[in-house]
Amino acid sequence: MINVSVLFFGATAEAVGERQMEIDLQQPTNAREAFTEIVETFPQLKSHSLLYAVNQEYAGGDEAINDGDELAIFTAVSGG
C-alpha cells in the first residue's frame, strides 16, 4: 500500500465535496491506473472532462506513482 495526497479544484472540488484528501492505494502500475481507481471512487467526476497531475506536473498516464506523491484531478483550465 502507498499513501498519496489527492487535490481537487474548482468543479472537481465541488463534485467531490473536498479539496484535499489522503488515499491509500494498492501500489499502482502507473498514473493511469491510480487515477482510474480514484475516479471510480467518485463517479460524479465522470461527467467532467478531466485533467491529471502528479507532483504538480501534467500526467500523461505512464508516470510512476510513489508513496507521498501529490496527485491532482481537475477540469480544463479557464484562467486568463
Binding site: F9, G10, A11, L45, Q56, A59, A72, A76, S78, G79
Partner: protein
C-alpha cells in the same frame, strides 16, 4: 530569465506598473495584454467572478511558459501576473507584459503567452450570475490531455 517574473495575487492589478517592470534600458517596445471581467458573456450578465488556482503548479507552468518564450522569441523580459479570488466587473484578472528590441516579437510573444496560459496554467474561473453560478471549464485542448477515465 533576466528580470522576467510571474506572480499570483489577490490584490488588484496595476497594468501600468506591471508593464513598466519589464522594461530594460535597451528595449524598444512593450506590449501588454490586460484581461478583465466581462459584464456579459453570450448575453448573460455576470455579477462577479472568482478565480482559483492550483498555486504551486500554476507558478511552475507560468515559469515554463516564460522559459519557452525566451527560447522561441527575441524578447527581453516577460511579466505575468494573474489575480485570484473575487473580482468585480471590469477588474483586471490578468496582465501579460512583454518587452523586446523589436515590437513584432513583443506582439507575437504576448499573444502566444495568453493562448498558452489559457491552455496550460491550472487556474479556474467561477462565474456568478443573478440566477446561478458555474465553474467555467476550458476547451480542454491540451495536447497531453488524458481522458483515461472514459
Amino acid at each position: 530569465m533576466k528580470t522576467s517574473f510571474f506572480e499570483l495575487t489577490t490584490e488588484s492589478l496595476n497594468v501600468g506598473a506591471i508593464a513598466r517592470r519589464v522594461v530594460p534600458a535597451g528595449c524598444g517596445a512593450t506590449v501588454t495584454l490586460d484581461g478583465y471581467v466581462r459584464q456579459f458573456t453570450k448575453g448573460r450578465e455576470t455579477l462577479y467572478l472568482v478565480y482559483e488556482a492550483y498555486e504551486p503548479m500554476a507558478l511552475r507552468e507560468m515559469e515554463k511558459l516564460i522559459e519557452q518564450a525566451h527560447v522561441q522569441f527575441e524578447i527581453s523580459n516577460v511579466g505575468i501576473v494573474h489575480r485570484l479570488g473575487k473580482l468585480k466587473i471590469g477588474e483586471t484578472s490578468i496582465v501579460i507584459s512583454v518587452s523586446a528590441p523589436h515590437r513584432r516579437a513583443a506582439f507575437e510573444t504576448c499573444e502566444w503567452l495568453i493562448k498558452e496560459l489559457k491552455r496550460t496554467v491550472p487556474i479556474w474561473k467561477k462565474e456568478f450570475y443573478a440566477d446561478g453560478e458555474v465553474w467555467v471549464e476550458g476547451d480542454a485542448s491540451r495536447d497531453s490531455q488524458i481522458t483515461f477515465n472514459d
